[in-house]
Amino acid sequence: MPLLQATHVTKTFGNFTALDQVNIEVNKGEVYGFIGPNGAGKSTMIRILLGILQVTSGEATVFGMDAWKDAVHIHKRMAYVPGDVNLWPNLTGGEVIDLFTKLQGSSNKQRKDELMEIFDLDPTKKCRTYSKGNRQKVALVAAFASDAELFIFDEPTSGLDPLMERTFQEQVLKLKDAGKSVLLSSHILSEVEKLCDRVGIIREGKMIETGTLEELRHLTRMHISVETKRPILELASMKGVHDVVLDENKGSFQVDTEALESVMGYVSKSGIVHLESAPPTLEDLFMRHYESDEASQADEVGRDEQ
C-alpha cells in the first residue's frame, strides 16, 4: 500500500478543469518529484492532498486515510512547506515556529535550535521584517523539526540562496536516510534530479509522465558528441536524430533512445576516433514535452487548415 495515493483525481473550478484524472503514488522511504510548468496544477494537487480543497471526483488518500475527511489525523504525521510562505506580520519567527510545531503535534526543542542554527535564522525578528527566503526558512525549520513521516514541499527553495538551497537538499537526504517519504514540487530540475527517486510530470492538469528517472530517461534522447575518420553527413537525415551540429568529421547531436542502435551503427562504420555520450538531463526531458506538444499543436493547426 503506497503511503500517499491519488487515483483519478479531477478538480474543477467552475468550468475550468485544473486537474484531470491525476494519479500519484508515493511509497514509504521514497522522494517523489512533482514537476510541471506554471499553472499545471501542482499546488492544486497538493492542496487536495492537504484536505484544503475537495476533489471533484477521484480519491486521494494519505496513510490509507481520506485526505479530506481525515485531514487532522493525517496532518499529525505529515509536514508541509508552501512555496509562498505567508506569516503574521506582528509575530516573531520564533513564535511562529513554536506555534507550527505545536499545532503539528510534535516538538523537539533541541532539534529546532539546531535547525535555526543550520538555516541561519534569527527568531526574534518580526515576520513583517523577514525577507522572502527567511519566511521560507521559518516554515522549513518548523517542518524539519517535526517527527512527521511524510513531507510535502511545494517549491520550497524558490526564495533560498544557493547555500541554503544546498542545506535544504542535505536535510531532505537526511529524511530519506531516516526512511521518511517526501513529495517535492519544484521548478529547479537539478534539485529534483539530485533528490528524487521517482518523478511525475504534470501539464495542463494531466499527468503526462511518471516513473523513475532511469525509466524517463529511457524515453528520451542521449547527447552524443563524436569525432570520426570519415564525414558523417547522412546523420542529419537519419530518423530519430536531432539538433545536429556537424563540422567535417566532428559533430554533436541528440538521438532518440529507440534510434540509438541504427545511428550508432552508422557512426561506427565511419570510424570512431572519439566519442562522448551523456545521459539526458531532466531539463531535456522536460523541454522535449514542450517541443513535442508544440509540434503536435502545430500538426493540429495544419490539419485544421487542410
Partner: protein, 534 residues
Amino acid sequence: MNNNSFEKTGILARFIMRRDRVRLPVWILSFAVVSMVVAITFTDLYASVEERQAIAETMKNPAMTALFGEAYGMNDYTAGPMMAHQMLLLTAIVVGIMNILFVARHTRTSEEDGQIELIRALPTGRLSQLSATLLISTVVNIALALVVGFGLYALQIESIDLEGSLLYGAALGTVGIFFAAVTAVFAQVVESSRNAIALSFSVLGIAYIIRAIGDVSSEFVAWFSPLGWILRTEVFVNNYWWPLLLTIGVGLIFVGLSFYLHGIRDIGAGLFPAKRGKSTAHTFLLHPFGLALRLQRTGIISWLIGMSVLGMTYGSVLGDLEAFLSDSELMQELLQSSAGASITEQYITMLMSVMAMMCVIPAVMVLLKLKGEEMKNRTENLFSRAVSRLKVFGSYVGLAHLVGIFALLVSAVGLWLAGLAVMDDMMSLGTILQAALVYVPAMWVMISLATLFIGFAPSTVYVTWIYLGYAFVVSYFGGMLQLPTWLEKISPFAHIPEVISEDMTYGSLVVLTIISLIISWSGFILYKKRDLLG
C-alpha cells in the same frame, strides 16, 4: 522634495477610478437617494405646524442633543431644520467611514499587498500614489456634495432652499475630505492598514464623543471636533459657510503632514522601526484561539475602551436630562401621561439598542479577520497541520461572541458609572445590566449571520453589514419616519422587550436564540464542507 515627486499622478488617479468604478458611484448615489427620501418623508409626515412643533418639543432635550447634535431652528421645525438636526451628523459619520476605507485601501493596503512597490518601480513619483488617492477622494467628495446638494434642491421643498441644500452637501463633502486627510496621515504612521483604519475610526469616534459632550454641556468643547464644526453651519437655518473653511483648512494641514511623513519613511515601513520580539512563543499563543486573540488584541482592546467611553458619554447626559425634566413641567406631563415610561427610561432603552448594535461591529470584525486570514493564505498554515476546521472556526466564532458581550458589558457599566456620578437616583447596576443583556440574543442573530456567510463564502459577509445598517436605521429613525411595523420587525433588535419600562418576557428571546443557533450551525457545516481559498 523635487518636482518629480508627483510624476504620473494623473494616470494613477485614473487607475484608482477604474478599480472603484462601481463602488464610488454607488456610494454617492446612495447618499443622495437616502437624503432625498428622508427629506420627502419628513415633509409628508409632519405636514402641519402642530405636528412639527410637537416633534420639536420631544427633540428639545439633552439626550437628543447628545445623539443628534445641537438643534437649530426649533421654533420653525420644518423639513430643512429636521434634516440638519437629525440627518446631517449621522450621514457625515458614514461619509467619514467611506473616506477612511477608501484612502486606507489605496494607500496602506496596496502597500501591504506589494502593489505600491510595483508602481514605484515604474517611472512614477514618490508621492504619486498618495496624491492620486487624495485627488480622487477630493473629486468624489465634491461630486457627493454637488449630487446631494442639487438632489435636495430638486425636491422643491419650501424649507430646503438652494443655498441650504448646497451647504448641506458641502458639509458632507468637507467631512469626507477631512477624514480622507486624517487617514492619509495614519497610513504613513503605522504599518498595517487594519491599524490605520482603526486609528482613523478612533478619531471619528472621538470626534463624535467630543461633539456630544460639547453640544450638551459646553460650546467650547464642541469646537474641538470636526463634527461639531459642520453642525455649526446651522444649515437650512442660518447657513454659515465659514465652519466648512475651517474644516478644509485643518484637513489641508493633515494632507501636508501626510506628504511630509511619506517622504521621510521607507516603503512598507511605518514611522517607527520594528522592534525585536520574543524568540519563543507563550503557551497561550499555541492554540488557534490564543492565536486569534493575539492577532486582534490591539483592535479588541481599542473597541472595549471605545465602547466604555461611549457608554459613559451617553450616561453623562442623564444628569442634564434629569435637570431638564424637572424644569419643564410640560414635558413631564406629556411624557408620563402618554406612556408609562419616563423619558430617562426611554432614553436608556434606546441607548441600549444603539450600543448593542455598535457592539456587533467588533464581534463581526473578529470574524472578518478569519476572512482576511484566508484571503492572505494564512489559514493554510493552520489547516496543513493537525488542526480541525471546527477548532479554528470555533475559536473565531467564540471570540466574536465574547468580544460582543464584553463590549456590551463595558458600555453598560460605563453608562451606569457616569449616570451614578451625575444623577441623584440612578437605577441599580442590575437593572442597567439586565437592560443591556436582553439585547444579547439579537446580537447573536447578527453574529451568527456573519458566521453563516463566512462558512458559505467569505465574499458574502458584507450582507451582514447591510443588515446591521438596516437594523440601525429602523431603530434610529423608525419612530421618526413612522415606518410600517413589519419593516421594523425585520430587525432582530425590534423584538427585544423593553425591560426597564415593561415586564420581562422571554418568548422572543428564546426564538431569537434558536434562530441564531440554527444559522450558526449551518455556518459551521458549510465551513467544514467548502474549499478554502488558502
